[in-house]
């Protein structure tokens, strides 16, 4: 485990990174609302795109980091890696909540329905539930080494499950807008909108790291405190 001073240092760093990201996020809001053109067909509802997509992106990074750190943990058996994987999962769940709430708010005016069992919606819902299961599993195990091993096993299984869920629901049927930026041909988003989106993606990535650092420091401090309590006479 890391020392108390080191954890406090990371917490401080995380606070600074988060503060910078939040200021930048305010800038994104202003740019998205005032300086980016309104989409012709969807109207103002399309503005939610600049929050929804970056939140989905941050959740995706967070869950991928958890999956990869799970593999590394089983290999190195370092408690710090387990703590980082858990922090990333928790932050990912928070971003997934943002994604899953902004989606329906956009869907109602544009699709005419709050929810639809489309491939991307269904996949993300189940991945979200899987990671909540991951956090509950962590809560249910008291021994830190067992907790690390169990959650790493679940994290790795989850990493393999995600593409399977996606293919499953895709075979079922799909309605979600096709990718407009990350696709084989050139992005079809107008320049100003693309700049706003890319800036927002960058801000959410920084925000993820800020939250992640703070959560990691908090988790480490909590473990240190638990050790103190246990070793006290």
């Amino acid at each position: 485990m890391i020392s108390r001073e080191r954890a406090l240092g990371i917490a401080k760093g995380g606070q600074i990174v988060t503060a910078v990201a939040l200021v930048a996020l305010a800038g994104i809001f202003v740019r998205a609302l005032v300086f980016t053109p309104v989409e012709r067909l969807q109207g103002p509802a399309q503005k939610i795109f600049y929050i929804h997509v970056p939140a989905a992106w941050a959740a995706l990074i967070a869950f991928s980091v958890t999956g990869i750190l799970s593999i590394v943990y089983l290999w190195l058996k370092d408690r710090r890696i387990d703590m980082a994987a858990a922090s990333s999962a928790e932050v990912g769940v928070a971003f997934a909540v943002v994604m899953l709430t902004t989606g329906p708010i956009w869907g109602k005016p544009v699709w005419g329905t709050w929810w639809t069992w489309d491939a991307r919606l269904t996949s993300t819902l189940f991945i979200f539930l899987l990671f909540i299961g991951y956090l509950i599993l962590r809560d249910a195990v008291t021994d830190p080494d067992t907790r690390g091993r169990f959650s790493a096993v679940l994290g790795i299984l989850g990493l393999v499950l995600v593409p399977f869920i996606h293919i499953t629901v895709y075979l079922f049927r799909t309605l979600h807008p096709e990718p407009i930026v990350l696709k084989p041909s050139a992005p079809s988003l107008p320049g100003e909108m693309l700049v706003t989106l890319l800036a927002s993606l960058a801000v959410f990535t920084v925000l993820y790291f800020g939250f992640m650092m703070q959560r990691y420091a908090l988790g480490s401090l909590r473990e240190l405190r638990e050790q103190e309590v246990q070793s006290a006479p």
Binding site: F126, L129, V141, F150, F164
Partner: protein, 237 residues
């Protein structure tokens, strides 16, 4: 028996012997107590009966809900059986006893999974005629296809279920955790199985199901391999 459980030095014969011993042990316990089998079986009948009434009979024909009902029943009944599998090993720390022998750990997992598979298969094979009876569906013309799909979906969820149940029995919430962790993993096999089952019941040709069959096969291969490889990581050093 083999001197070590790492590397490829254990013989296939020894491996098979450990697997067989564990399957025989679990089945003997089950034959004497019949707890898991009877509770899963009664549960399966109850779910089949309840789902029959969980529709508007004037608007929805029973054949339309039949594939879903069949797989929901199998899933829930199997979950009850899977929960028992490692609870047995927790009592008197029986799992530790097994781990102290020089039996390959992979063989222990394969043995447990195989015993679970037999139990779940028995429940499914007895529920199937009841399903035909209750829902009045013609399955006999397409029985080989239906049994193949049942086998493919069941192998996948028994493999994942066995691994997860070996972990959850050692947590604070024990049995409560299994459905929560296992159900997300059942989406690909169950959705696939329901789709193929309804195509079979509707008398469609096999070519229409090929996408789903490939998905089930890929899922089986990926998760059987993963669970076998990961089992060792769940055990205490």
């Amino acid at each position: 028996m083999s001197p070590t459980d790492t590397g490829a030095c254990w013989l296939v014969r020894d491996f098979g012997r450990v697997v067989f011993a564990i399957v025989a042990k679990d089945l003997t316990i089950e034959l004497r107590t019949k707890t898991a089998f009877l509770s899963s079986m009664v549960f399966a009948i109850l779910v089949l009966a309840i789902l029959f009434f969980a529709r508007d009979p004037t608007a929805v024909a029973s054949i339309d809900v039949a594939p879903g009902a069949l797989w929901v029943t199998f899933t829930f009944a199997a979950m009850i059986g899977l929960n028992r599998a490692f609870l047995l090993e927790r009592e008197n720390r029986a799992l530790d006893g097994m781990l102290l022998t020089d039996a390959p750990r992979t063989a222990i997992f394969v043995g447990k999974a195989l015993a679970n598979l037999l139990l779940v298969a028995a429940v499914e094979l007895i529920s199937l005629p009841l399903f035909v009876l209750f829902y009045d569906v013609p399955i006999f013309a397409r029985l080989p296809e239906l049994l193949t799909v049942m086998a493919m979906a069941t192998v996948a969820f028994v493999a994942v279920g066995t691994l997860l149940s070996s972990m959850v029995v050692r947590t604070r919430f024990a049995e409560l955790m299994l459905p929560l962790l296992l159900l997300p993993f059942l989406i690909p096999p169950i959705v696939g199985a329901v789709q193929v089952t309804s195509l079979i019941l509707a008398g469609r040709p096999l070519s229409e199901m090929s996408g789903w069959i490939k998905l089930l096969a890929a899922f089986d291969i990926a998760f059987c391999t993963m669970t076998i490889l990961l089992f060792e990581a769940t055990l205490d050093e």
